[in-house]
Amino acid sequence: MGCDAAQIHARLVERFGDAIGAPTGQGRDTALAVAPERIAEVARFLRDDSDLAFDCLSNLSGVDYPKLGCIQVVYHLFSYRYRHWIVLKANAQRDDPVVPTVSGIWSHADWQEREVFDLLGVRFPGHPDLRRLLMPEDWPGHPLRKDFVEPEEYHGISTSRESLLKA
């Protein structure tokens, strides 16, 4: 039998205490805030507990919130066994975002964390191969940060051009 978000929340609070925040959002999108330094422990528990059995990391993404001073790493977890869902959100400090890796728990996280590192600059200690994934190795900055300014040129190649429609 699957669990709903309230039951999952209760299980996590029982085990991890105040590292787990109150649920926000509704239905499928119900999210639990997790203290970033404890995310790997929480993830391992969610995968290994026989009543929760979150065997699949469906999605891992990062969102930049400059006003809150944090970069949020969002985990969408799914259980093929019980067909239930939970969303975890870890708010990392924006000036030095660090969140322990979950790549040892779900292999899918390996590439997803590389993408978040590449585009948002979050470091995942414990990751086996944290390199840029999509952008060139020598690209300056992290493009999905809200304050990212596109460089005017890259190796002598201009990143903009004059409008062809200019009179």
Binding site: R28, D29, A31, N59, S61, V63, Q112, L134, M135
Partner: protein
Amino acid sequence: MGLMGFEVEIERAQNGGGVVTEDMTLNMGPQHPSTHGVLRFIVRADGEVMKSAIPDVGYLHRSIEKIAEKVGWHGFIPYTDRVDYVAAMFCNHGWALAAEKLAGIEIPKRAEYCRVIADELCRLHSHLLSVGTMAMDIGAFTPFTHAIREREYLNDLFEELCGARLTFHYMRIGGVGWDLPPGWTEKVLVFLDRFEAMIEEYNRLISYNKIFVARLANVAVVSAAEAIDYNLVGPNLRGSGVRYDVRRDDPYSIYPELDFEIPVGRGEMGTLGDSFDRYIVRMDEMKQSCRILRQAIRQIPKGPVMAKVARNFKPPAGDTYVRLESARGDMGWYVVSDGTAFPYRCKIRTGSFTGISIIEHVSHDLMIADLVAVIASLDLVAPEIDR
């Protein structure tokens, strides 16, 4: 350089070291006819046997997720076509679903049917290219021309539906851009009559061909547990025997009203979860898509195809994660709104992205020539990986 290395090798052999072999590093791509887009692999091989194939992606990164933050909710739809230009309908649909869920929009029933008809035609469109190029990558050219011939009829149908043959821009937030043209569904039925017979012909031509089977059976076996661990989706997941399809198990649109089966791999030519199983699941899925299309065309109600949606669309602040079954499987859209006319964040988790991340794991001990078969069997579409 090469000669010097050779001399060292002879010297080592003469000094009683036996035959000395060294690993060879090969570069495959970024421009390579079998990589289905611009995609690079760094292959470490001992003779013909690979020790690993490490994918290097990003050559087709167009920063589509960043563009979403700049162009507004309606304005982003044409960009979604480019996320996966082999199956653009699903990307339109995913974005529309996410925006509609955030804003709480119900769309008219006829629009749902139009979407499903377009989706399933697009699934045929994409699977035909997948199985056709797979045969070609392995060395059989003729089946590719058969697949492309059928796909051409689909292109014509799409052109009549929305004016475009590849990047459709057909769906809108709140419905679809245009109703089905008069007489169009009859043409689809004529196509289906022709196409269902063609699936059998294609199976006779290539699917059970001895050489084709020998190239795919027992190659790159992925167990069900590995498939879930790497979050493989769609035909790649079902090829490993996991009977899970978002259309049935987490239904959206009008799929609960339609009757269809979910083919899974059976290991009929070798081991469950091998490249052949992933291939044959696509062939079987095309039959099911035909079945869905016939039902949808029979049941489609009359009525409007667009809900009332403000031109200045501003969904309330919040976030949502929607999924749909694209041709490459469960496609996830994580969309955050801050209540303004521009999306705050859009993350697209695609089937090819999950598919390519398992290659390094399965490539160990395969022959170099098998790599193209594995790429094709996972149905990797490079723009969808890089976005």
